[in-house]
Amino acid sequence: MIEARTISKSFGDNLVLNNISVKFQKGKTNLIIGQSGSGKTVLMKCLVGLFEIDSGSIFYNDRNFSKMTFRQKKEIRKEIGMLFQGGALFDYMNVEENVGFPLLMFSDMNTQQRKERVDFCLRRVNLEKANNLMPSELSGGMVKRVAIARAISLNPAYLFCDEPNSGLDPQTSNVIDNLISEITKEFDITTVINTHDMNSVVEIGDFIAFIYEGQLWWQGDKTQILKTENKEINDFVFASELTRKLK
């Protein structure tokens, strides 16, 4: 479980996160949603320690992440897998090297064991026979799948996904969503997804936190979000004429 307790973060005079408290449960796909500029990416970056919070605390299974030293944080980070918006695959490595990189850095596996683990992770994301391709040779969906394979290679306890569907067609988005959801259940991971894709919300949102103007405005699950009367969330989720009619 990951818990944020009254965290705030500002950049200069701009208060981006205001007193946010939220719990992300183990074995569930936890979604952070909100408009562009609402602070959801900043929240995710605070959770993983890429930004220092101004006040409050972040706990990983009761371990106070925000009070840890650099070395202690480093140990926690070995339990974290992250899927970045653009994939963030290393340009100079092929698919196999990208997926095997965390294993090379942090495991004592020999070459054969590493190869087997990489093949397993690539099979899990339905990417067999892509081992020798370079990132520039991959499609958008393949990049995301390789990034997921890299994120799960060390058997993480926590998986963070920053806009996993951005730049993908609806069908591929669905594949990626389902893949993340399956992996979360299969490996019992605490998954936190940052998205503004409404399809993801209604498909895989076991827990949804809606961020509005830097505050936690609403939380619930995918069935509750369809019934809520909260104006701001309805304006966001049912922004188009079509979705309003569907509701």
Binding site: M82, F90, D91
Partner: protein
């Protein structure tokens, strides 16, 4: 004030860079790869420039000696001194600041703007240490080798020029090359080269690492890396010459 802020950030980055590598075995592999990309890949341009500049220095020296009291062997002597003391360590380092510096800054800058450095950090890796330290070590080791080759090829270029233009005989040129040789000049040259190699890689690494934004900022970081490395090389050239030669 801005200069102090930049210096502070640079020193903080260097503190991260010189931490213990996460994986020593991988660190040595990285150094080997950097030997190739920073050293071997620069060999062509270094040798071409060295041969031609060596030839020009020899011809210009011969052209300027018009007194019959000055022996023609001075052409070889002057060429050797110019090449060892200044041309190879300083001018070739400036060329490398352009070639290697822009490469390092754009490589690390691109990694920064595409989230690859964040990805390393999330994995629990010290990105500054992983990315910059092998480049610094590799350059500090391989650049003196490049400069030694540059000296040899520049002197060879001077010899070829003397033979083909007939300005000086081969015997006079070689006599000049071998005369009044002080081995310390080579030590001085290699010390300068190592300091310049550190400047090129660390300053370029800093500019790449501090990049934020997009493609435009990567280009800007690359330009800054070359400009600041070149200026620092010129300044440290003066400081080291004063310290080591006077």
């Amino acid at each position: 004030m801005k200069l102090i802020s930049i210096l502070g950030k640079y020193l903080l980055l260097m503190r991260q860079v010189f931490g213990k590598p996460d994986r020593v075995k991988l660190f040595f592999r990285q150094i080997m790869l950097e030997f190739v990309s920073l050293g071997v890949d620069s060999l062509g341009i270094v040798l071409i420039i060295s041969v031609f500049v060596g030839a020009v220095v020899a011809i210009q020296t011969a052209y300027n000696i018009d007194s019959p009291l000055i022996p023609l062997s001075m052409v070889g002597f002057t060429t050797r001194q110019s090449i060892i003391l200044e041309f190879s360590p300083t001018i070739i380092s400036l060329v490398l600041a352009g070639k290697v510096g822009s490469r390092i800054a754009s490589e690390i800058g691109t990694m920064r703007v595409t989230g690859q450095i964040d990805a390393l950090e999330i994995m629990g890796i010290n990105p500054a240490n992983y990315l910059i330290q092998p480049k610094i070590f590799a350059a500090v080791i391989i650049n003196p080798v490049l400069i030694t080759l540059s000296i040899g090829f520049a002197l060879f270029g001077g010899w070829i020029a003397c033979i083909f233009t007939g300005a000086v005989t081969s015997t006079d040129y070689i006599t000049g090359l071998r005369g009044w040789f002080v081995p310390y000049t080579i030590t001085y040259s290699l010390i300068k080269t190592s300091v310049f190699a550190f400047i090129i890689t660390s300053v370029s690494g800093y500019h790449g690492y501090e990049t934020s934004g997009g493609a435009l900022e990567v280009g800007s970081a690359s330009t800054k890396a070359v400009v600041y490395s070149s200026i620092l090389i010129i300044i440290f050239n003066l400081i080291l010459t004063q310290l080591l030669l006077v």
